[in-house]
Symmetry: C2
Subunit: 395 residues, 2 copies
């Protein structure tokens, strides 16, 4: 079969390995450390630094495609791999839209995709002007490098905005600002596209963020008007196609109530790799996002993204402030005993407060409100126990 | 989490790796060669020989459980690991029933499990007596070491039986004989049991053998009377419990028409490891047999074995007499294009006629006869193309 080089050693790279094993694909990993999450489970590991062009070129050798589990590989390394004739997926020209929020916003506006009002912030004066333009509803963002709520600020007054902007620009951080959306919930479009142009879209996913980090995903998104689901699906296809994305694309959406009182959407972020809001596909779709990503970057025909269960819930396992004394394996025992249908995923990572160390997938047999609520409750109870070694529903 | 040592380097060990990755379990492999099917995908590999007690002890080091992907580990090595304090799962006292067909037959009779008439064959005279007893309907079996039709003979007359028996006993092959069953189809009970005694049974599976090798499995078995399904399920629980099996147990069954004209069952073989007739669980059950095996040998609570699709079909990919010129990846492309819902599994093995090199799982949306037939047809078309690079339904 084929060989895929993966740059990045976190859980996203790790979770490509089961799909690779099944399809007979060989993975080659560039890992920062020999015991990192992905390096624990993939035999062919190069230990190195993704900032190093030499290391990137070394891991690309012999590959049929090079891909990533994050967006932070420098342009120089990407260009060097392209120049050396490697198949870099997604291509840097697409990836830039996931690397730079201002580039993305401009491109979305060009495509006619719905985005909040935004501005380039190159000076304190730009920030002042934008503050006035949007009546102080300002979200300030670092153009590059943010994730999981890092690199995003909601200044409470103009003074805070001014000092933030002054400080960040002084530190050399390129900035943009956008109008805060009065969001009602968050949705996510998961799309895959291969270099031949085939595109497949999973059912639209609802996600719940806590402190800027994904806590829960539910798919198909409950109570979503079919017309809006179709519009979101079409938007996903359009963005993947016009940006020339290859592999998995996650389009994070703000949902809000529009002037007509109906649910509407605007684009928030793009990610070009398997995404936290797509982990439910491991248990609830014919084709998981990890399998689809590998198929896509190798330009194989894409798999069926249909839901295989009426409802699937993913709950993240995020390191507690203090790690309980009970060993993780004993927590797994308790959760497995109470929820024999829970699919527990652990990433082989040590404890750190707030760190993503695993997730739980749970499917429900029906999509009615009671089943959705029960499935969400159980998935969250399971994830909570894995974190806290306590049942949240027991005194 | 925990560490499991696996002795045996074929596709069964390979397919434990996705489940191990998900649950955060570390696998340590004893492999005959560094490029064997399982060794390609598991980082911690000891290259050695499972006949060697020293090699078995070496791979067991640091494990929470030792298990197998075949039944051929010698008793000496098993005992040595037990004596050294390792958790060997299944225990040798259970495993002997999967290693020695005569031991198994005697034990099944003790338990009251249905088995065909059988006899120990220690001489040509024993064979002659049994031939007369069952009116020449004799199936001769090597007590140990057979698989996939090897070690099983159907002599067409007494002379052939006599010469076979003389020759095999002369070569030191322990033998047994049993009455040939007029089988109508083959069924399989897949069970898992952990050392604490928890037992779970998957839906009863129908399998189709060609030339003594599993070609296809369908689950839940179509047209199975609920009473018989229940009886088979109870039988699986009884065998697993009374034999003290840990991990996955497959009870291969003969189905036949009894004197009352109803479908009935008799035990054929036992296997104590994930089994070819259970590969469908990867796509069609909440808990795959590979995940369940790992949970069981570690004495974790077992997962839900319920079907997650109305019908699932597995078709084996067996090496053709001559390997077609079309590279395997191009065959995968064609199959993936025609069947986007096909789950293609490849074992990383080179071509050899009749060799198990992969399988295809396909789920259907309903369990009516037409859907079952269509799902079986499509799974077999997909597997046939992977073997022959031709569509069996096209001229």
């Amino acid at each position: 079969m084929k060989t895929v080089s993966v740059i990045g050693d976190g859980q996203l790279a790790r979770m490509m390995q089961p799909a690779a094993v099944e399809l007979g694909i060989k993975l080659q990993l560039l890992a920062g450390a020999p015991d990192s999450s992905a390096a624990q489970v993939i035999p062919a590991v190069t230990v190195g630094d993704y900032h190093s062009t030499a290391n990137c070129l070394a891991v690309a050798e012999g590959s049929d495609a090079v891909t990533f589990d994050h967006e932070h590989v420098p342009s120089d390394a990407l260009s060097a791999m392209l120049d050396a004739g490697y198949s870099v997926q997604p291509a840097p020209s697409a990836l830039i839209n996931a690397q730079d929020k201002l580039v993305q916003r401009r491109r979305m506006r060009e495509l006619g995709a719905p985005v909040p009002p935004f501005a380039d912030i190159s000076s304190v004066e730009d920030a002042q002007n934008f503050w006035n333009e949007v009546d102080g509803n300002v979200c300030l963002k670092a153009c590059r490098g943010g994730y999981d709520g890092h690199g995003v600020w909601f200044p409470k007054d103009l003074t805070e905005l001014e000092s933030l902007v002054a400080e960040l620009l002084e530190a050399g951080t390129p900035l943009m600002a956008e109008k805060k959306v009065a969001l009602t919930r968050e949705l996510s479009i998961l799309v895959a596209r291969n270099p031949s142009g085939e595109v497949k879209v999973w059912p639209i996913t609802m996600s719940v963020q806590e402190n800027g980090v994904c806590a829960e995903a539910i798919a198909p998104a409950p109570d979503l008007a079919p017309e809006l689901a179709q519009r979101a699906t079409d938007l996903g296809v359009q963005i993947a196609t016009e940006l020339g994305v290859t592999g998995v694309l996650a389009v994070e959406l703000f949902a809000y109530t529009n002037d007509e009182g109906a649910e509407d959407i605007a684009v928030n972020e793009l990610a070009m790799r398997p995404h936290n809001t797509g982990h439910w596909t491991q248990a609830g779709s014919i084709t998981s996002q990890f399998e689809q990503h590998l198929r896509a970057v190798l330009d194989l025909p894409l798999g069926d993204p249909s839901a295989s269960a009426p409802i699937t819930v993913m709950a993240n396992v995020l390191g507690a402030d203090e790690d309980p004394a009970m060993p993780m394996v004993d927590r797994v025992v308790e959760v497995a005993r109470r929820f024999p249908n829970a699919k527990i995923h652990l990433y082989g990572k040590g404890h750190r407060p707030g760190r993503k160390i695993g997730h739980v997938n749970l499917t429900g047999n029906a999509a009615d409100a009671a089943t959705v609520a029960a499935t969400r409750r159980d998935a969250k109870l399971a994830a909570y126990f894995l974190v806290h070694a306590e049942w949240a529903d027991q005194a």
